[in-house]
């Protein structure tokens, strides 16, 4: 068994809106809390250019909102370790242990798993080579590089269709490539895209490969109904095909569904005592900053109750021994 350098009441893995909310609630309740995060504090919230529907907050950026949440958590005494690299995790037993790649070790009575997700990639040849050289996952960041150029948007959800419309401000023509013959987006987004004269559609198809030299020059598009492959010259491709949960490190440690999402009950409890989960990595239908915040709140309150009960049991045991 590992022996930790520092013991906390609760360790939160992940510093997106779910993890930061849990940190705020727990620290405010004077429960000693550590948040460990592998990437940027704020998670995918930071990648959101504009947030207009977060209740009680006027239009803001994801960066600003995450900055406020981080400040709030720290103001209540929550410790935050950012850009960490997780090496080992022990969830079973009364004391949970976390070891980082740099050798630091932490233990806690309870753990909240809030690792979030990341944009799904196509996973086809050339994708890594041309990332930032024609392939992008952020329209607001890179849209202006494609002014007057022809681009493809891959995907059929709200993000794909809304970003396709927004990219027509720059691109001369936008082609939406989608694997199904229909879209999963809301009707308003579909209508807006269909009514835009700069947008055309290639349905029941996917990108099979990216080609180019210094930058992207063409793609192979595969018709999923006929298997037919054709090459299309293109300047840029924006990929919006959803998210994958960051739960690879949890495989074999607790219950995940077929998509790798963490299974929890209404109290955000996993199947292991003292282990809770929250945010986008949890199996659920809707993924919004507000739902992550809600998850983080429930997980924090349930974890707090668990910690209090744990403490009482320890005290009762100590009295018995004496």
């Amino acid at each position: 068994m590992m022996k930790s350098d520092i013991h906390y009441d609760v360790i939160v893995l992940g510093a997106g809106p779910a993890g930061l909310t849990a940190g705020i609630y727990l620290s405010r309740a004077r429960i000693r809390t550590l948040i460990i995060n592998e990437g940027t504090v704020g998670g995918q919230m930071v990648l959101t250019h504009e947030i207009a529907n977060y209740p009680g907050v006027e239009t803001t950026s994801g960066y600003q909102l995450s900055g406020i949440m981080k400040k709030q958590a720290r103001s209540f005494g929550c410790d935050i370790v950012g850009n960490a690299s997780l090496r080992e995790l022990m969830l079973e037993g009364p004391v949970k242990m976390v070891r980082l790649s740099d050798g630091r070790e932490y233990s806690a009575s309870a753990i909240i798993l809030a690792p979030g997700g990341r944009p799904r990639q196509l996973g086809v040849p050339g994708e890594e080579t041309f990332r930032g050289k024609g392939i992008s996952y952020c329209a607001t960041c890179d849209g202006d590089f494609f002014t007057g150029k022809e681009i493809i948007v891959v995907g059929g959800g709200n993000s794909a269709l809304e970003e396709a419309v927004s990219l027509t401000k720059y691109a001369s023509r936008v082609t939406i490539v989608h694997q199904f013959d229909h879209f999963q987006a809301f009707e308003y987004a579909i209508e807006e895209a269909r009514n835009n004269p700069s947008i055309r559609f290639i349905l029941s198809s996917t990108i099979a490969a990216f080609h180019g030299n210094e930058k992207l020059q063409s793609v192979d598009i595969k018709n999923l109904l006929t298997g037919e492959l054709h090459n299309m010259p293109i300047d840029g491709v924006f990929v919006f095909i959803g998210y994958v949960p960051n739960t690879e490190f949890l495989r074999g440690k607790l219950n995940l569904n077929e998509y790798g999402e963490i299974l929890v009950n209404a109290n955000m409890e996993t199947g292991i005592n003292g282990v809770f989960a929250a945010g986008d990595a949890v199996a659920k239908r809707f993924r919004q900053i507000t739902t992550a915040v809600g998850d983080g709140t429930v997980a924090a309150l349930a974890a707090a109750q668990y910690v209090y009960t744990f403490r009482q049991q320890k005290q009762a045991e100590a009295v018995k021994i004496n």
Binding site: G39, G132, G134, Y137, C138, D142, K215
Partner: protein, 118 residues
């Protein structure tokens, strides 16, 4: 204006001074955007760990940032931020778009050497 805790380069002259007076320099040229902010944060975190490297940012829309935007090593770049690594005034590595902590550390270690810890 970049709201980071890094040192900012605000002109081509300043850029020239920084790369000529320092052996190892990393400059992230971007905006306050979703793909750029994570790189700034990684640099802020690494700055104290790499005392032999100078870390700077430069605003992409500053006209003088052409010294990076138009560098031959950045040809074909179509994703922010443009991150460039200078050794003795010459670009030894350049990357486009978001990078992870491991990717940045790997470049720093390879181009400038692993930091010596006491």
């Amino acid at each position: 204006m970049l709201y980071t805790n890094l040192n900012h380069i605000e002109s081509a002259a300043e850029h020239q001074k920084v790369i000529s007076e320092n052996e190892n320099v990393m400059i992230c040229c971007g905006r306050m955007g979703p793909m750029c902010i994570p790189v700034y944060e990684i640099m802020e975190e690494l700055e104290p760990q790499y005392p032999h490297v100078k870390f700077y940012d430069m605003e992409f829309d500053n006209p003088d940032a052409r010294v990076i935007r138009e560098a031959p090593e950045c040809r074909g770049f179509m994703g922010l931020p443009f991150t460039v690594y200078y050794k003795n005034g010459k670009i030894v590595k350049a990357t486009s778009s978001i990078q992870t902590m491991d990717q940045v550390k790997s470049i720093l270690n390879q181009e400038f050497g692993v930091p010596v810890t006491a």
